[in-house]
């Protein structure tokens, strides 16, 4: 006889629950997480090194954790800022998950850390689906990647609290169409702030730190449409409950 179990469970429920717990735990210790996402090589480490240095100069206690598939290069670069840094090797995994992050923080995250910057694995697809308990999610895109990235990776850009354009010093050389890029961000994430940065020219350095500190105080200034889940969304699954007998065509 055919049995059907009406499960109705979110696949990422476990990660979401871990992320929620981590966010609360860290908030209790006065720490807010900033999750940095981008394609490989967009300039996460380069900008973060500057922001960490800026934080140390301003006396803001911060720390950074960087995740890569291989090599400790990024941690070595970030450690030049003089703040506590930890490298995580993901052992083949293309993204960080909340439980992994929590495990790496145990016994390492210094007491009194106000901001923990997490450089996610360079990848605009997978990390987008995993909440790390962050207070601020930032997506970076360099001018060399073209203006259509927000349309090609709508989930990543659509869930960002803040978007940073990087390497603006070479924008002219690659004919970067900034207006088109901004319009594309606006399409998938209306109202999101887009900021120009260049570590080479010093443009926009310090903005990330300012936005992160502000988010730690009062939450992110912008809530993306994609995270504003409607209550109507559950109607569809409620409708389906009556159909469960129709499922389960036999297969041996």
């Amino acid at each position: 006889m055919c049995r059907v179990l009406d499960l109705q469970q979110a696949v990422l429920a476990k990660n979401d629950a871990c992320a929620h717990t981590l966010r609360e735990e860290l908030a209790g210790r006065g720490t807010a997480v900033v999750n940095l996402l981008s394609s490989p090589g967009s300039g996460k480490t380069a900008l973060l090194e500057r922001e960490l240095t800026r934080a140390r100069e301003r006396g803001v206690p911060v720390a950074a954790l960087t995740a890569d598939l291989a090599t400790e290069n990024d941690a070595v670069r970030l450690a030049r800022s003089g703040v506590p840094v930890k490298q995580v090797l993901t052992d083949g995994l293309c993204h960080l998950e909340a439980e992994m992050l929590g495990g790496h923080l145990d016994g390492w995250l210094p007491a009194g850390t106000r901001l923990l910057f997490v450089e996610n694995v360079g990848n605009l697809v997978c990390p987008a689906s995993y909440d790390l308990g962050e207070t601020l999610r930032v997506v970076l895109a360099s001018v060399t990647e073209g203006e259509d990235k927000p349309l090609k990776y709508p989930t990543a850009f659509g869930l960002a609290h803040l978007v940073l354009i990087t390497k603006t010093d070479i924008a002219a050389a690659v004919d970067f169409d900034e207006a088109a890029f901004r319009a594309n961000v606006e399409r998938v994430n209306p109202g999101a702030e887009v900021v120009r940065t260049s570590v080479r020219a010093g443009e926009g350095v310090g903005v990330l730190l300012d936005r992160a500190l502000a988010a730690r105080e009062g939450g992110p200034a912008h809530i993306p449409v994609m995270t504003r889940q409607s209550h109507h969304a559950h109607d569809a699954s409620a409708d389906r409950v009556g159909h469960r007998d129709t499922v389960g065509s036999s297969r041996s």
């Binding site: 499960l7 696949v11 989930t155």
Partner: protein, 126 residues
Amino acid sequence: MHEMSIALAVIDQVESAVRPAGATAVSSVRLQIGELAGVVPDALAFSFQLACEGTVLAGAELITEPIAARARCAACDRTWPAGMPPRLSCPGCGGARVELLSGRELRITDVSWHDAPVPTPTHEER
């Protein structure tokens, strides 16, 4: 490719749900995948098949139900299919006070299996 992680999460949840019910061989798992969930159904089906080997889900069919992304404008009450790539500002009034009605689903809706020859009639859902 995080589809493997997703497949493992699905299997983990299905196993813990059907074991107490006495299922020995799951025949199918039904999954809703929203357009904006960031998951590629084909890649997931491939990972799922591999990851099911040696579990009670071995040979199970993964039935994926795509869910279109729809949005609603709070200012003018218009609703529209967001499309792909999605348009999440209001096409009517241009407003940004928009909510997503659907499209980010990634949920297991139900699981089917065949009872062993000697049925255990006490099992009930949930």
